[in-house]
Amino acid sequence: MLEEPVVHGVEWTVKELFVYPNEFIYWSIQIVMYPYMTGLVAGAFVLSSLYHVFGQKDLKEIARFSLVFSLALLPVAAMPLLLHLQQPTRAMEPLLTPHFTSAIAAFGIVFTTYALIVLSEIWFVYRKYFVEQVHALKGKAGLSNAMTRTVYRVLTIGAYDVGDDAIRIDKKAATVLAAIGIPVACFLHGYAGFIFGSVKANALWMSPLMPVIFIMSAVVSGIALCMLTYIVIMEWKAFWRRRRGGVEEAGEIKGVEVDVISKASRYLIGFLVAAITLEMLDLIFRGYTAMKSWDILRSVMYGKDFLNIFVLQYTLGNLVPFFLLILPRRTLWRTVIALFLVLFGVFMMRWNVVIGGQAFSLSFSGYMHYEIPVIPHSLETFKEGVFGALMVIATPFFLFWIINKFVPSLRRDTEGS
């Protein structure tokens, strides 16, 4: 029996009242993941640049980690797009025949530029370490040592000069790259906001504030994720050291951490306030001008999506962590909870933009509900379901684990810039 072809979107779209026949939730969970992951990349890079460019010395520890972590996040920013495409084998076409009136056309170019900046900055920061490893592993027995040494030899790209002059140039190059990287990172993400903000057919998305809101929330989420991962990894290490009996060492690590975390949280709060202010401005403006679309927008925001927008995003994701972070006598546990909530809040913001923008019909006479596929029964329901999203979330941690084996971002003895 020939199976009836499945229309993309039918499986997770529930229509209510009058919706045009061809309307479905075409942009589902992976398009929520795309700006979320891109935002994490941009935010992680901005955090690392605070030290490299603006000389925030007390952020040094977390800055090096953030830089390497942003590299691990980078491929994952493109992954949701690949999972979302109906023709993934044609994914390179935007680079081959870019149609520049489209906001998506420049993605490959911006993304590649940014990737090159991150890669070269890491190279300049860790070049000395690579060279040292090549020398240290010389003559050591064993196949794994030989292979590791080969990897490091490739990583040096033949630049073995570690004299004072050469290292000074390295440091300068890393600073310049970090400085160039900030606008490029902001562009990478602001541009993701532009992809949505420029869709004039969508009443919720169309707003010139969208790119700026996206950048602010990107920095918020990036800083939060870096802080959270940093805390978890360092605590995990300290925990194991304590179990092995090295109490003093563990204590020292924790002491440094609290300073770093306090400083990073101050930046986090700053960007969080900016993000919320802009979002509120957008909301108030829409209500005040009350264009044709306001009736349906209001019914979605204050009615159908009230829980998602006002309870989960603004209250639980913004307001609660804001107070958790600013109230005195902050503990590490409270910070961890606040960071989790911040990350959740930014995710809900992406969700409410992407899914919320498709929650109402273009006819303004009906609604669509997104029922995310949980148990997949086809490739499509896997890719655009809970497990597809979890795969995207898990990948950067796996990549970081691999990259960190060669570029140890969490060790103090790998002195760089």
Binding site: P5, H8, F18, F24, Y26, Q86, E93, L96, K200, L362
Partner: protein, 256 residues
């Protein structure tokens, strides 16, 4: 025969000039200019829908699905018919079951019984791609797989579409969808394969009531184009600046 160097140069320059003169009569022109010089450029396809003539039989949707190989039972369609019922309480009831493919044989709208005595007015509105002059879908396609022809129709290259769905999001009229089999964006193209051979689109041919007609706006003798020029016609959602080219006779203000 002798030929001095001076004569040689003189003759070379002379003959070059003589041969270059006719060549200068040729000019490099763009493909659009070439097309403009030919008769085929004297076409701007447009569409006229007479909502007062439509009875909602759904024959146009059936014909379109068959002609354009859109899976018959799939809930997507290149053209569809909407039913509007406006009641005395100020409410507008709209539906389009299966795009109106099987006609509107049920009085109920989404299981809601409407008392005929409560109805102020009721009518049908056929919808299809507006072949906009300033198409948002073409603007946002990242690879140029959807494009506008010289005669105003927006087409999709199925071999080049990456299936990102940006065009679907950008269209204010909701005419686009993913083709369930081709897995690329799809929409009405006025049956381009037919109209470019002098035939009518499938929906026009199948409409027994003359509610759907195709027009060439560039042809001063085209009777349908003359109706668009001389009668009071309206378009859908002109606030988006897309300059739609499906014109409606008797379009109600309540139509979405």
């Amino acid at each position: 025969m002798t030929c001095s160097r001076r004569d040689f140069l003189k003759n070379t320059v002379g003959s070059s000039l003589v041969s270059a003169l006719p060549l200068s009569a040729f000019t490099l022109i763009s493909s659009a200019e070439a097309a403009a010089a030919l008769d085929e450029a004297k076409v701007r396809w447009a569409f006229l829908v007479d909502t007062t003539a439509c009875v909602g039989c759904g024959m146009c949707v059936k014909a379109c699905k068959n002609e354009n190989e859109i899976p018959y039972d799939a809930p997507v369609t290149r053209t569809w018919v909407e039913r509007y019922v406006m009641t005395k309480d100020g409410k507008t009831h709209i539906d389009s079951p299966l795009g109106g493919r099987d006609g509107f044989i049920d009085d109920k709208i989404r299981d809601e019984e409407i008392d005929p005595a409560d109805i102020d007015k009721a009518f049908f509105v056929p919808k299809l791609c507006n072949q906009c002059e300033n198409p948002a879908c073409v603007q946002v396609c990242p690879v140029g797989a959807t494009y506008q022809t010289n005669d105003g129709v927006v087409l999709i290259d199925r071999e080049w579409c990456i299936g990102c769905g940006y065009c679907i999001m950008a269209c204010p009229y909701g005419v686009r969808f993913f083709h369930p089999e081709a897995k690329v964006a799809d929409k009405c193209n006025f049956c381009y394969h037919r109209i470019s051979k002098g035939m009518d689109p499938a929906c026009v041919e199948s409409c027994a009531f003359g509610a759907r007609r195709i027009a060439n706006l560039e042809d001063p003798d085209d009777p349908v184009a003359n109706i668009i020029r001389t009668e009071r016609v309206a378009v859908l959602k002109d606030e988006y600046g897309t300059k739609p080219h499906v014109f409606y006779l008797g379009l109600d203000a309540g139509v979405r």
